[in-house]
Each structure stands twice: as structure tokens, then as C-alpha cells.
């Protein structure tokens, strides 16, 4: 099991794929991307439910698929635990028998006790005799997880396992999965389109688009330091602009860029030579609102200002759109807690000051084909 899973999948159609992934034992890899980006297709290919034209899949030191050598293991020959989006429980069998069906390679005498143990591990003790229809959504999900684990899989595949339950149940299941995964020795691949879910549960994140793996890495890093504008857009970063590199101040570990007449200090990124055009991005969490009543020291860091052109209450937060250097240029977006907005008297048309924290300014190659011209 030391090797985890590595795969390379390529095909032109019917579902285009060009994906490379690896996940170490005990790690959770989240596949994120919009609908139709190939997340589920990759899971199905790993499970052997879909045969891809070209590529390799190696798991726990075993080759499951190698198009070059003509190796292809059927689903039944691969030890995968698969939690389907709608769980796909056997509706006519009790929770206990659902789990027992996944342990046919064990001696008959052991199966029932072992199935009871697995169900107890996912907190379903006492509900073993219920059929799926008599269980709640969260309980069904746990039976599906128990069934997947009962096979003692070499890889655990979770296909949007939290999408079919209500919010409160989801929060509880997150905690349970986080606890459970500490004991799991196999690689876990989680498909989700919820970035917060990925951030909470995953050790690695892989962004997919149209079947291509665009960027992999530690979730927070991918979400705050995307490699390309395309990834930035896919991880929901809205503050994407173009600028020119002025120079590097290595003593202060800063790169200076010029944006709309402002000299902005960014984290040192020497890969971009002075004079080159770049695209830069800043996550909303790195934009600091200046207090209107009491200026603070932090305001000296990349200060910009402008009027609020949109002020949208979203429950406990308020989403603000601020026009910097004129209303015809792409605005800055940020979210502040509702009480902060209230205390600072923020409303439509009010002029506010912001600091763009240098550590959050991330530079990317200028991408004229993908960056809308207006983002300058």
C-alpha cells in the first residue's frame, strides 16, 4: 500500500480527458471543477466502470490499467471502495446485508460480525436491520461509506458524497469523515464542486476543466496562488487584473508592480522580469478595509480607495463592489462581516479605503487569450 495511486488518462472522446493524478496512502485528494469537467469520469475510470482510450492506472503497486501493455482489470478485480453520489445502496437489503455483500471474499462465519463492526464504526449500531428507505439521508450515506470500507479497498472514491443531504447533516458528516480519515490507510479521492468542502477535508486539491488537470497542490495554495487565470477563475477568484512588473526588492522580499498608476508591493516573485506584463490576483481575504473612524498602521500597505458601487447583504456578510480609478474599469470585490459594514457606515456611493495586502498579491503569466481585456 506504500505507493498509493497514480494515474494518467487520455482520450479525445466521447468525454475528453487529459488527466494526471497521484494520491499517497492516507491522503485525501479533492477533484474540483465545474459540472462536466470530468471529475466523475475519472472516478469511474479508476473503478473500471469506464474504459479510457489511453493511459495507466497503478494502485498499491499493482497495474489496473495500462493501455500500452494491454492490461485491463475489470471492476471486480480492483479493490475499490466507491461511495456514489446517490449512494446506490441495494434497496431491498438491510444495512447489514448491504455491507455484507462487499465482503464475499471473507469466510461466511466472519462476515456478519465484521459488517456489524464496520457499521458501528460509522455510528450505525442498532440500525443494522433497516432497509435504506427506512434510513435518513445521512444514515444512508454512512451505510454507503461502511459498504465501501468493508471491501478493505486499496483506494476509496467519494463522488460528491455530501450533495444529497441537508446543511446541518452535511456539517456533521464533514466532522465524521475528518475523524474517520485519520484511521484510513488508503488514498481517498473526493469529487466535489464545493471549494470550502475541499479546503476542509483535503490534503491535496486538483483543479479540472474539460477533462484536463490544470493544477494540483495543497488546497490553500491552489486557491490563493493559482498558476493561470483559468485556474483563478475556476477557484472563484474574482479580483483578477493586469499590471506591469516594475522591479524586485529582494531585501524586503517584495516585487513591485504598477497597476492603474498605483505602485503595489507584492510578495517577491522573481520569475517575472521587470518590464513584463503580468496578470495578478488577490483573494478577498487579503483585502483589508480601512476603518473610517480610526486609521491604523496597516493602511500604509498598498492603499487604494473608491466608492462602493454595489452593497449586497448575504446573511451575516455583506458583499461589496468598489470602483477603483473610475467606474469604467473592473472593480474590486470583497466581503466584510455585516457588523463591520454597519459600524463603518458602508453603503452605496460611500468612499472607502482598502489595503491590498502584499502577501496576498499573486502574479501569473499574462494570458491575453483568457483574460478579458477589461480586466486591465
Amino acid at each position: 500500500m506504500a505507493e498509493g495511486i497514480q494515474l494518467r488518462l487520455k482520450q479525445r472522446g466521447p468525454i475528453p480527458l487529459d488527466a494526471r493524478l497521484k494520491c499517497a496512502p492516507g491522503q485525501v485528494l479533492a477533484l474540483v471543477g465545474p459540472s462536466g469537467s470530468g471529475k466523475t469520469t475519472i472516478l469511474r475510470a479508476i473503478a473500471g466502470l469506464l474504459r479510457v482510450a489511453e493511459g495507466e492506472i497503478r494502485c498499491a503497486g499493482e497495474s489496473w490499467f495500462d493501455s500500452g501493455r494491454g492490461v485491463y482489470h475489470e471492476t471486480r478485480q480492483r479493490r475499490v471502495g466507491y461511495v456514489f453520489q446517490n449512494y446506490a445502496l441495494f434497496p431491498h437489503l438491510s444495512a447489514l446485508h448491504n455491507v455484507m455483500e462487499a465482503m464475499l471474499d471473507r469466510p461466511v462465519a466472519e462476515r456478519e460480525q465484521r459488517a456489524r463492526d464496520v457499521l458501528a464504526r460509522v455510528r450505525l449500531a442498532g440500525l443494522e436491520s433497516r432497509v435504506p428507505a427506512a434510513l435518513s439521508g445521512g444514515q444512508q450515506q454512512r451505510v454507503a461509506v461502511a459498504r465501501a470500507l468493508a471491501r478493505e479497498p486499496q483506494v476509496l472514491l467519494l463522488d460528491e458524497p455530501f450533495s444529497a443531504v441537508d446543511r446541518a447533516t452535511r456539517q456533521r458528516l464533514y466532522r465524521e469523515l475528518a475523524e474517520l480519515r485519520r484511521d484510513l490507510a488508503m488514498p481517498v479521492i473526493l469529487v466535489t464542486h464545493d471549494l470550502d468542502e475541499a479546503l476542509m477535508l483535503a490534503d491535496q486539491l486538483c483543479v479540472l476543466h474539460q477533462g484536463r488537470t490544470l493544477q494540483s497542490g495543497e488546497p490553500y495554495a491552489v486557491m490563493t496562488r493559482p498558476d493561470t487565470v483559468e485556474v483563478a477563475q475556476l477557484v472563484g477568484l474574482r479580483n483578477v487584473f493586469r499590471a506591469g512588473v516594475v522591479g524586485h526588492d529582494e531585501a524586503r522580499a517584495l516585487t513591485i508592480i504598477e497597476w492603474r498608476g498605483h505602485r503595489l508591493e507584492a510578495r517577491l516573485q522573481t520569475a517575472f522580469k521587470p518590464g513584463t506584463q503580468i496578470t495578478w490576483v488577490i483573494p478577498q481575504g487579503h483585502i483589508m478595509l480601512h476603518r473610517r473612524d480610526r486609521p491604523s498602521r496597516g493602511e500604509r500597505e498598498n492603499p487604494v480607495s473608491g466608492p462602493v458601487i454595489e452593497c449586497l447583504p448575504l446573511g451575516e456578510n455583506v458583499a461589496l463592489t468598489v470602483a477603483v480609478n473610475g467606474p469604467d474599469r473592473p472593480p474590486l470585490f470583497l466581503t466584510v462581516p455585516a457588523h463591520v459594514a454597519r459600524r463603518n457606515g458602508i453603503a452605496m456611493g460611500v468612499e472607502i479605503g482598502l489595503s491590498l495586502l502584499a502577501d496576498g498579491i499573486h502574479l501569473m503569466p499574462s494570458d491575453d487569450t483568457r483574460t478579458p481585456a477589461k480586466s486591465r
Binding site: R76, R79, G81, F90, H92, E101, R147, R151
Partner: protein
């Protein structure tokens, strides 16, 4: 009451069900679980006996199984007797004209199983045989039961094809439906009435039992 005709009808219906049950499971499962080129044509061919007038179907079966046909000649050379106007010929015709009644409900039964459930069975490591036996058949059970009942009841009542292929040989090919017709021809309405009532009762019991079993299995599964 023509007991010999009734027992012949029950024997014919029972054997037809016995032959079509595995055949229908195989074909219904195959059609539901697989997509292939020309599937619509195969389905149309299998449904043909539903729309053909029984006498037309009977005529073609008579020609296909007659002494002049390769099938008829082969049968006669092996068993030393003609296939038409024999119980075996009648059974073959009965199997053919019941194909849609057996396959269609079973196909619908297998079709109703979510594809992910089959995928989940494969991921659990279940063999194809175990998947069929343990997962698919119990889930497609209402369709299988409908097929059995429809085939049985339809065989009991079939008249046109039976008359064309089997004639009306007492104890060999004279089924209860033919016997009723004979009784009416002979102005024995009381005899025809008794036999009709018996057929009605048998059909009603079969269909009632199927509905009852179906309803019970739903209650068990969905509470």
C-alpha cells in the same frame, strides 16, 4: 367440464412459463443492461406477436413447422412424427406467441434498476451471476412475476394460434379455449359456461396473486 382439455391447457401454460422464464430473464436482462446497434429492431421483432392477428401468426407457424419446411422435416426425421398437430408443436408455437408477454415485463423490471446499483455491485466485487441472483432479480421481481402471470393466463386463453397449429385433437392439442368453442358450436351453453367460468377463475386467481405479492414486496421494501 372437459377435464382433459383443462389439464392440457394447464400443462401447456405451465411448460410455456417454464421455458420462457429463463429465456425471458436472459433476454430481458440483456436488453435492459446493454445498448447495441439494431436494438430497436430486435425489440420490434420480439413485440411482433403482440400486433399480428393470431391467425396470421398461426398460419406462419403452421407453414414454418409443416412437413414441407426444413424445421418440420428435421423434427420428423428425428422423432418420427410431424411437429404440427402435436403437443410439442403446440408448445413451440405457444412459446413463440408468448415471447412479448414474457420478455417485455421482465425488460421493464430490469430497466427500472438504477445503473449505479449495478456499478455498486461490481465495486463490491460481486460476480455477474451473484449480481443477477442477489441484486437484479429481487429488484426486477415485479416484472418477472408479471411476465409469468401474463404468459400463463395468455396461454390458457389463446385460441387462434392453437387452432391453426394444433387443430383440435382431444388429449393432444385440444385446449380448454378450443373446447369452449366446440361446446358453443354444439349448442352446449351450460358446458361452455362452466369451462369459461373455470378459466375466468384461474386467470383471476393468478393475476390477484401477482398483484398481492407485488404489493407485499413494495411494503417490505419501502415501509
Amino acid at each position: 367440464m372437459d377435464w382433459s382439455a383443462l389439464s392440457l391447457s394447464l400443462k401447456l401454460a405451465g411448460l410455456t412459463v417454464l421455458i420462457l422464464l429463463p429465456l425471458g430473464i436472459w433476454a430481458g436482462h440483456g436488453l435492459a443492461a446493454h445498448q447495441f446497434r439494431g436494438k430497436a429492431w430486435v425489440e420490434a421483432m420480439l413485440a411482433l406477436p403482440l400486433v399480428l392477428p393470431p391467425t396470421v401468426l398461426g398460419y406462419y407457424l403452421l407453414v414454418a413447422m409443416g412437413g414441407a419446411s426444413p424445421v418440420g422435416q428435421f423434427y420428423e426425421s428425428v422423432f418420427g412424427q410431424p411437429l404440427v398437430f402435436s403437443f410439442e408443436g403446440l408448445l413451440l408455437a405457444s412459446v413463440i406467441f408468448n415471447i412479448p408477454f414474457a420478455i417485455q415485463p421482465m425488460q421493464r423490471g430490469f430497466d427500472a434498476i438504477a445503473p449505479e446499483v449495478r456499478d455498486a455491485a461490481a465495486c463490491c466485487g460481486l460476480s455477474r451471476w451473484r449480481t443477477l441472483w442477489r441484486i437484479e432479480l429481487p429488484l426486477a421481481w415485479p416484472g418477472v412475476l408479471s411476465a409469468v402471470v401474463l404468459t400463463f393466463a395468455h396461454t390458457l386463453g389463446e385460441f387462434g394460434v392453437v387452432l391453426m397449429v394444433g387443430g383440435s385433437i382431444p388429449g393432444e392439442t385440444k385446449t380448454v379455449a378450443i373446447a369452449i368453442y366446440d361446446r358453443v358450436q354444439a349448442f352446449d351453453t351450460a358446458g361452455a359456461g362452466v369451462m369459461s367460468a373455470a378459466l375466468l377463475l384461474i386467470s383471476l386467481v393468478a393475476i390477484g396473486a401477482a398483484y398481492f405479492t407485488h404489493a407485499r414486496s413494495r411494503i417490505r421494501r419501502y415501509g
